[in-house]
Structures are given as structure tokens and as C-alpha cells.
Symmetry: C2
Subunit: 159 residues, 2 copies
């Protein structure tokens, strides 16, 4: 079953999901942020089929999230590295991880670290006026000066 594409919706959440929201893709990115670079490493970690992993990696390369580099000529072997664009997906993965750590806790866990100093890194929500704020005080609204996205509740209901 092919999911419906919502990449044309006037919404950055939908467009981003169209690139990284396919099943397995966030877990592939998690492995790369964890240090995995090679096809066989990711394959062994996820237990996914070769065909699916190949498909997902190709999509990530086509979208310039990963860069493919040959590291062996005979046999030809490739590794995958994050582009700048790919690196900036880390907040998505970290937000998923921190929510799971809090609300679906289990034994094994990972942490995010600042590579230059080795200390832990946490996600935060920063208000331009108040500094760090909790999630329950934050909501989405149409942007200033922007037309409200057509069909959204905020546009049609004035919520």
C-alpha cells in the first residue's frame, strides 16, 4: 500500500515527512547519528531487508541528506555521511528520543553529546521573550505577515 503523498501541502511538517517520514528512515538516521556509516552496519543493526535499506538510503542521498562515498574499489563499497542538511535533522531525532525516554522508558538508552566537549545536550523550547518554556505553553499559529494556510482550522475557524 503506497501511502498518500502530502508533500504538496503548504506545511513544513508535511513536506519534511514526505522526505524523512517513510518507515525505517528515522531509524536509519538514528544509526548514522550514532556513528554507523556502512550499509552492512545499518543492515545488521536494524534487521531490515537489503531492498528496503537500499531504497531508503537512495532516497536520503537523492534528497541530499546523506552523501554516498566509495571507500573500497574492489569490491565496490560505499559509506554514508550526513550532509549539513542531514545533520540538521538531529533535533527531530533527539525530540523523539527524549519523549520516549520520559514517557515510554525502557532499559537501554542513548544520550546526545556535544562532540567538542563531551557534555550532554538536551532539546529546549526558547521563547524570544521568556527564554526556556514548557511544551504545554506552546502552540502553532499562522506566521506573522503570512496568509493562513488554506483549510487549516486557524484559517477557517479563527482558533
Amino acid at each position: 500500500v503506497k501511502r498518500s503523498s502530502v508533500g504538496h501541502f503548504p506545511c513544513s511538517v508535511a513536506r519534511t515527512l514526505d522526505v524523512v517520514g517513510e518507515w525505517w528512515t528515522p531509524l536509519i538516521l538514528r544509526d548514522v547519528f550514532y556513528g554507523a556509516r556502512r550499509f552492512e552496519q545499518i543492515l545488521g543493526d536494524l534487521g531490515v531487508s537489503r531492498n528496503i535499506l537500499t531504497d531508503r538510503l537512495n532516497t536520503l542521498v537523492d534528497n541530499e541528506i546523506l552523501q554516498r562515498r566509495r571507500y573500497s574499489d574492489r569490491p565496490p563499497r560505499y559509506e554514508y555521511r550526513l550532509t549539513d542538511r542531514g545533520s540538521e535533522l538531529l533535533p527531530v531525532l533527539l525530540a523523539l528520543m527524549e519523549w520516549g525516554d520520559k514517557w515510554l522508558p525502557d532499559g537501554g538508552y542513548a544520550v546526545a553529546v556535544h562532540k567538542p566537549c563531551g557534555h550532554r545536550v538536551h532539546g529546549a523550547l526558547l521563547c524570544e521573550e521568556c527564554g526556556a518554556v514548557p511544551s504545554r505553553e506552546v502552540r502553532f499559529r499562522p506566521g506573522p505577515g503570512a496568509p493562513a494556510p488554506p483549510g487549516t482550522p486557524a484559517a477557517t475557524q479563527g482558533v
Copy 2:
């Protein structure tokens, strides 16, 4: 095609995706963070089938991310509100939105605002030692005192 479940993996990213990673679910949550509460509002916004929307909302209620409340008895009608657990998914949605705003820009856009003061809210990565840091300086590692998750590259390769 039923996707494989990875909810048993010792990884908070995988467990979280098992709850909120099904196709349509992040967009349903986006609508709720935007102010939509009623079935028909979300239905009209997403253009999803009634069956799928019902299924996804039931999953979100079963996992205590949304709370279902009857607002009309005749006919019976329900609205959906975020629980505390659900509200804390906002950083996931905001991270998806901010990545899309930067790397897949399009006309329509939304912003996150701090409800008490109305100012904009942005996602940030805060190092315990250095303060705000960029994504490219952050990676995942096994947690201090925790066994490395079995099968991860970091555990088997010492990356």
C-alpha cells in the same frame, strides 16, 4: 502492507515511532497543536478517510496522547484534547517544521508561539556546558552508566 513493529527495540526513538510514527499521525497532531479539536475539522483539513482518521485517533487516545471528550449528546459528538503526555510531543512537530522551513521552503508557513506572551518559540539544542550548540556538533552516544544498546554500531564497533 503492515510495517514491521520495532517497538521492542531498546531505543526510545523506535518506541516513540511505534506510537506516533504511523502515516497521518504527525499531521493529525499538527492540526491539534494548531487548534483543531473536532473530528470533522481534522477530516476536512487532511482529506484523509474517516476510517483511517478514526483508527489513528483511537491509537492516540489508547496511548494517552489525546483525551476524548463528548461535547454533544444528541447526536453524540466528541472532541480531542492533548494530554500532558501529548503536549510534550510539540518539540517533535516543531523540529520537523523548522527543518522544512529551512530546507524545503514553500509559501505557506506556521510558527510556534508562547501562549502566555504571544512571542515566537524556536527549538534549540542546549549543551550542559556550552549553552546553545549547532546540530553538526551533536551526536548520539551510549548513556553514562548504561549498557550500550545491543547490536548498535557504537556497541559493536567502538565508534
